[in-house]
């Protein structure tokens, strides 16, 4: 456990990609295979089911330390991380008798996973014992694992690159080997390192190929004829795997979401054995519905017939990665696309549709078509090179997302909240308001878009211009104006303003603009695009 906690710290500490890969590779080489398997599990962003909610850890902490609940909240504002907060309150920084260091695998199998079958009192007792045996860093890591919040400062791609180095195989090969659903074990880890994996799991999807944002004029891509255009759907990227008589739907986060989409599974029974589609899960009724509709679906524990009817879903397929068990990723897109259309035509399942090709003879024509994006509930266009293979990860050059410009408004900063992680103790999360009949009404929360220097400047300003405190939150003088960008506006009964904006972020600090000239709620409502 100590070595894994150290690895966590090293990854947390450095921003250098090479250093991260080197640290992970060193760990994979030196750790016992059972430990390495668990480490890989976490480093590839796999999660165990949450064993205890953070709230229970907090309650246990309050009980153990005698710290009052309000003070815990203030501590949280200074730490910005629930698992770390608990670690900083229950640890013994001044030291104490060190317990023997158990391997990560034994921690997982003997101490962590058994929590699942304990009652609350036994869990509390077990946690207390765990905490008493570990140092601050290890408690932090353990808490993150137990609350299902373990994340590390390295992407799954980097972990795979490190493991590929150790195994001496190309990263794409390793990426495919580690995909899918598996339970960590020493044997599994040894299997991953073996020159030929014994057997590919039927459920395995392929690593996703990700598009890059197009910032330049599309004419810079060359001839229009070399490119295929499609709508950029505002849904959930997914792969549909049909193998061994079963269907698996994988989200881009490599989460198996099959059960959420019964109509897709029903449609997939019409697909031949050995088929893998890449596409987008969408709320769809004759046309694409807003993302908010899809959210209704994924937020529910139980899918009742009424929900299924209210938010029907389609799989908008745009690529064919495997047909008849054959990996097609090396073939050109033009061929894959033709085969995809033929395959879907044969299947004739309404829930599985080919993502239509958007026509437009030249780039200028296409730019005009792109203007329809908002009315169609899409984010813009995708441009894909017809001759390109299906690559792995975010590789620039063959797939571009050409999004429409976002909406913008000028809004007034009214509340500031402390940030999280690296930004804890700084006021970095902001609530913005617009005018409504002489009053400022909050419309958006945003926490990205400012430079570190601007954050520091605004932080100092917030501290000096606080009007009121609500716990760690500060109400500030309504003076500072910011230009916000967002993707869409929807009406919302949960927000005081009656509208909710999607993906709000800060474009710039309008120091030149007095608060009185910020936008009005009326002008925001004029942007309402959602017909739902």
């Amino acid at each position: 456990m100590r070595a894994f906690a150290r690895l966590y710290e090293e990854l947390d500490r450095t921003t250098s990609t090479n250093a991260k890969v080197a640290a992970m590779a060193a760990y994979f080489r030196s750790a016992p295979p059972g430990d390495a398997a668990w480490a890989l599990f976490f480093l590839t962003q796999r999660k165990i089911k949450r064993l205890l909610p953070t709230r229970v850890l907090w309650e246990l902490t309050l009980e153990m330390t005698g710290v009052p609940a309000w003070l815990l909240e203030h501590c949280y504002a200074a730490v910005g991380d629930g698992a770390e907060l608990v670690a900083l309150l229950v640890d013994r920084p001044a030291g104490g008798p060190a317990a023997a260091d158990l391997p990560l695998e034994r921690w997982m199998e003997e101490r962590v996973l058994p929590l699942k079958d304990m009652d609350l009192a036994a869990q509390a007792e077990a946690m207390r014992r765990c905490w008493s045996e570990l140092d601050t860093l290890q408690i932090l890591v353990l808490n993150k694992i137990i609350t299902g919040e373990f994340r590390v400062g390295a992407s799954a791609t980097l972990a795979i690159r490190a493991l590929a180095q150790v195994a001496g195989v190309p990263p794409q090969v390793m990426a495919h080997r580690v995909m899918g659903d598996w339970r960590p074990s020493a044997d599994l880890f040894r299997g991953l390192l073996a020159p030929e994996p014994e057997r590919r799991l039927d459920s395995h999807p392929y690593p996703f190929f990700l598009a890059s944002p197009l910032e330049e004029d599309p004419a810079s891509l060359g001839e229009r004829g070399e490119w295929m255009a499609e709508w950029k759907w505002d849904g959930i990227r997914a792969q549909l795997v049909r193998r061994g008589g079963a269907t698996y739907v994988w989200s881009r986060g490599e989460e198996l979401v099959t059960e959420r989409f019964p109509e897709i599974v029903a449609g997939a029974t019409h697909l031949p054995e050995g088929t893998v589609l890449d596409g987008e899960l969408l709320a769809f009724r004759g046309e694409a519905l807003p993302f908010a509709m899809l959210q209704k679906r994924i937020g529910r524990q139980k899918l009742t017939p009424s929900i299924l009817a209210a938010a029907p879903v389609a799989f908008m397929a745009y690529d064919l990665l495997e047909e008849g068990g054959e990996d097609l990723r090396g073939r050109p897109l033009s061929e894959r696309r033709a085969r995809l259309e033929a395959l879907l035509a044969r299947a004739a399942a309404p829930a599985l549709r080919p993502s239509p090709v958007v026509s437009g003879a030249g780039w200028a024509d296409l730019a005009r078509v792109r203007e329809e994006a908002r009315a169609r509930n899409v984010e813009g266009l995708m441009l894909k090179r017809l001759s390109s293979p299906y690559r792995t990860g975010r590789r620039r050059g063959d797939w571009w997302k050409w999004k429409i410009a976002p909406y913008t408004i000028d809004a007034v900063l009214v509340y500031a909240h402390p940030g999280h992680g690296r930004r804890a103790t700084l006021f970095t999360d902001y609530t913005f308001a617009v005018w409504d009949q002489g009053e400022l009404v909050p419309v958006a929360k945003a926490y990205s878009g400012l430079s570190d220097a601007e954050i520091a400047e605004l932080d100092a300003w917030v501290r000096r211009h606080t009007r009121e405190r609500f716990g760690p939150t500060r109400a500030v003088e309504p003076v500072q104006v910011f230009e916000l960008a967002f993707e869409a506006v929807a009406s919302s009964s949960r927000h005081r303003a009656g509208v909710a904006v999607r993906f709000p972020r800060i474009l710039r600090w309008r120091k030149d603009k007095p608060a009185a000239e910020a936008d009005t709620l009326e002008s925001v409502k004029a942007l309402l695009t959602v017909r739902a």
Binding site: V67, P68, H74, V79, A94, G421, R422, T425
Partner: protein, 332 residues
């Protein structure tokens, strides 16, 4: 009964004695708890501090203002008040200010710590009716490891960097923290430590007062284009990110500060490593100290003052917070 110490735009003021404590505005008479920049400010006509602080304060203020040094415990009459200075254990010369007038005793703690420090006189609890305490780290998450454990961590870090052929740049306060680190490291190694000019000057003033510090070499005295691989360099925070650090080539950086207890702060500050070493009282030390003063009323200032005051009130003690100019974090 009027308060012996009140908050004014210039800082804490004692009407009975006609003096300010650590004023940030001009004052006829300033009593300075210790010589860090946010406490010992220029602009006042006359200063009173401990004998140990006086040489530092004179250096900071230059010619002009009168600087009077007093021994710890020496009773000085100022107006209707009797004032004495008592060890605060923060840095060399740091003092709590005990003020007695009209049969009441107020103690203004200044910055203080309870952890061992070989470079200054340890904190001495003073009985008080009212205790004005610092609250820089007044949250229960701030609990310090033992300084010798931290020193061992610094040594291990230095050694690791040495083996990797890198220089170790350790940033810290030039007055107080640097000397404490030197003295702690001096117990563990004979290897010489390199220091920035600001650290060298302060260390010299420490040595002149008989504080033992291991041998140090000023970076400026070394020949240009020398390799710094494997060296440990102590430098003030202000030297970070300046051209001065470029000479060290391949290097690892670290900060020694109580703020390093929190990972987010550690990452935000952008140092490779953080060592939890503070010259302030941690949460248990604050609570214990307040208990030991026997004060019936506590006023908290600096940092998490509101939080500490509320905690004390809920424990049945009269307590409040004094707002200061300085909100947010000092690099402690």
């Amino acid at each position: 009964m009027p308060d012996l110490v009140v908050s004014t735009p210039e800082g804490l003021f004692c009407p009975a004695g006609g003096f300010h404590v650590d004023p940030w505005g001009p004052s006829a008479r300033a009593i300075v708890t210790h010589v860090h920049a946010d406490h010992a400010r220029p602009g006042s006509a006359a200063y009173l501090c401990t004998e140990a602080s006086a040489p530092f304060l004179r250096r900071r203020l230059g010619e002009g203002p009168v600087v009077q040094g007093a021994a710890y415990g020496e009773r000085i009459r100022l107006g209707d008040a009797v004032v004495s200075l008592h060890p605060a254990g923060h840095v060399l010369g740091s003092a709590q200010i005990r003020i007695e007038a009209a049969g009441r005793v107020w103690v203004v703690s200044g910055d203080y710590k309870r952890a061992p420090d070989p470079t200054c006189t340890p904190f001495e609890p003073v009985r008080a009716d009212v205790f004005v305490t610092e609250a820089t780290f007044a949250l229960p998450i701030y609990r310090w490891p033992e300084p010798d454990v931290v020193a061992a961590e610094v040594m291990a870090w230095w050694e690791r960097n040495r083996q990797a052929g890198a220089a170790s740049l350790l940033f810290c306060y030039a007055m107080g923290k640097a000397q404490r680190l030197l003295a702690e490291l001096g117990r563990l190694t004979d290897r010489p430590v390199l220091v920035h000019g600001a650290v060298a000057e302060m260390s010299e003033l420490y040595r002149r007062q008989g504080v033992w510090l291991p041998a140090t070499t000023r970076v400026a005295e070394l020949p240009a284009r020398r390799s710094y691989a494997g060296e440990l360099v102590l430098a003030p925070l202000s030297a970070g990110g300046t051209p001065w650090v470029r000479r060290f080539g391949e290097r690892e950086t670290a900060l020694a500060s109580g703020w390093m207890r929190v990972r987010g702060t550690r990452r935000r500050k952008g140092y490779d490593r953080g060592f939890v070493l503070s010259d302030h009282a941690d949460w248990p030390a604050l609570v214990r100290t307040i208990e030991e003063t026997g004060a019936e009323r506590v006023l908290a200032t600096h940092g998490y003052a509101e939080e500490l005051a509320r905690f004390l009130r809920e424990g049945g003690r009269e307590a409040g917070a004094i707002t200061t100019h300085f909100e947010g974090e000092a690099d402690a």
